[in-house]
Amino acid sequence: MTEISETKIIETEIIKTEITETEVTRITVFPPTVPAEITPGIRAVAIVAVVGVVSGVIAATCGGYWLSNFTQAYCMVMAVLGCALLYGQLGLVSLCQWALVGVGGWVSLRVYHYIHPPFFVTILAGGVGASMIGMIWGLPALRMRGLYLALVTLMLAAAFQTLVFVISFPVGGPGFLGQVGASGNDRINMARPIFASSDTAYFLFVAVVTVLCIFLVEAHRRTKPGRAWALIRKSEQMAVASGVRIVFYKAWAFALSGFVAGIAGALLAGLFGQLDASAFPTTNSIVIFIGTLLGGYDVWLGAFLGGLLTRFIPALLIDLNVNTNVGFMIFGAALLFALRDPLGLGGQLTILAERLYDKFQAQRAP
């Protein structure tokens, strides 16, 4: 009896010691310190470095099919960027983002065939056009949010799909709609800029535009509009009591979200030379929202990863000769992960990077 009791006591002590050591180890590994503040300069360097390295690797290793898909993926990144802006900053679920990409493509093709402006003007026209339409489509958000707004925007995306099937995209023909007659030989492709005529150069050009769009959105998030959006998201009454013009700032968010989507549409038009109505299904807008949740809507890296995945997975399935509908199953499963972890992939990686940066700063300190 005595022996048993002693054994028990010893075991208890060992367990106690182990628990204590584990706790000490845990505390040592993850100290509860406040992360070092990431300055705008460091964030800008991080954006350029991450997108630069990823783009460099893709440009150096991919060609043909994969290069085209990664160019499209970067356009997806811009679309997700706009979607994440609305959801992350204002809590608004917009399910018409891919339709806005289509609007941008339509406007840029229309402008290109009408006056043949420089390529930069063409993509800006696409951005401005989608921005204006985005602002109009955002009007329901002044009165509704959540599921109702999601449904209304989804219906708008479906309406665009129907409309674009009827009127199609301009191909250099006569009249406002710019259609050709019976012969498809009359179709005119939109020319890429001279310095980006090859596929690789065009991909790198799209990468640069993606970085500029990320900068644009980040600049908004970190300054006056971003602070106004944060107040609106917290409480509209509190925002009004702080002097914020709710309608103006909501419209601004929709305009900015539409602008980056429109730029993406114009770049897609530049990639293929022309666009097809079948490339703008309503389901893509839902996929973009899934990408937003999967990547994480609070950080730029989330939009980048989310956008890449939304194009990479379908492209991989096609390459492997697997039915592309499997992609929806993968996105559905991934969504479960995203719902469990609202930070998303980008949010988790950002926290990890901040911890590493914090450790680096601590080691540098005397």
Partner: protein, 235 residues
């Protein structure tokens, strides 16, 4: 100065404010009453979130009810909410800067006003700390600092002491007393803490079921047997 005349609010069959007359003249005025007395409804009417069915409100000779909520902010009306509403993702200073963006005359004065407000509430060393890392007292201080931006004329504070411990309430008390002098404005304090009201408010209005139960010098009002029975639950 706030002058309320025959103010009536109705929500369906309920009348949260019933022909209320009141005048807030002192630099710090109190507004007390039991739960459901109509205190927050009055604050919401003053800030423009609830539209009354009858009555008028004058704020320093301006007809308040004719103005939109945002224009009321423009003429110097500020308020805090019962529930503290500090944005977790923004730093203490960014939370305060967020109101300066819209009410300050220009960037230079915005920066100056934000610095003055941060120093006044004692958050200088925590200015770059994110909202989620601030404790309740610090979050309350951020809320108060926000009301001090852009030359406020009247500040409505809805239970700023809720959830604070004794020493924090004492610090809050010292801060509130200083606000009218330091920022040349009037303060209307809504709180359940009769001791806090008694120690900082010169005048107090007591509401009960949407009606004025008493108004006058705070000490006299709190000693009124009718008020003690209705509000404090004792004679």
């Amino acid at each position: 100065m706030i002058k309320i005349d025959a103010l009536t609010v109705q929500f369906g069959g309920i009348t949260p404010l019933d022909a209320l007359d009141a005048e807030f003249v002192a630099p710090i005025c109190g507004l007390i009453g039991p739960n459901g007395a109509g205190k927050t409804t009055l604050v919401n009417v003053l800030s423009g979130f609830v539209t009354p069915v009858a009555g008028t409100i004058l704020l320093n000779d301006t007809l308040l009810l004719a103005l939109s909520p945002r224009h009321r902010v423009g003429i110097g009306l500020r308020r805090t909410f019962q529930q503290e509403l500090v944005v977790d993702e923004l730093t203490a200073m960014e939370n305060i800067q967020a109101i300066a963006d819209h009410v300050s005359a220009d960037r230079t004065s915005a920066r100056r006003e934000v610095d003055a407000a941060v120093n006044f509430v004692g958050l200088s060393e925590r200015r770059n700390t994110r909202g989620r890392q601030l404790n309740l007292f610090e979050r309350r201080m951020v809320e108060i600092a926000k009301t001090l931006i852009g030359r406020p004329k009247v500040i409505l504070m809805d239970e700023p002491g809720a959830g604070l411990n004794e020493s924090e309430t004492e610090r809050l008390r010292r801060l509130l007393v200083e606000i009218p002098r330091a920022f040349a404005c009037q303060l209307v304090l809504i709180d359940h803490d009769a001791d806090l009201i008694a120690s900082v408010c010169a005048e107090t209005l007591v509401l009960d079921f949407g009606k004025r139960l008493a108004m006058g010098q705070t000490r006299a009002v709190l000693d009124d047997p009718v008020v003690r029975r209705a509000y404090l639950g004792r004679e």
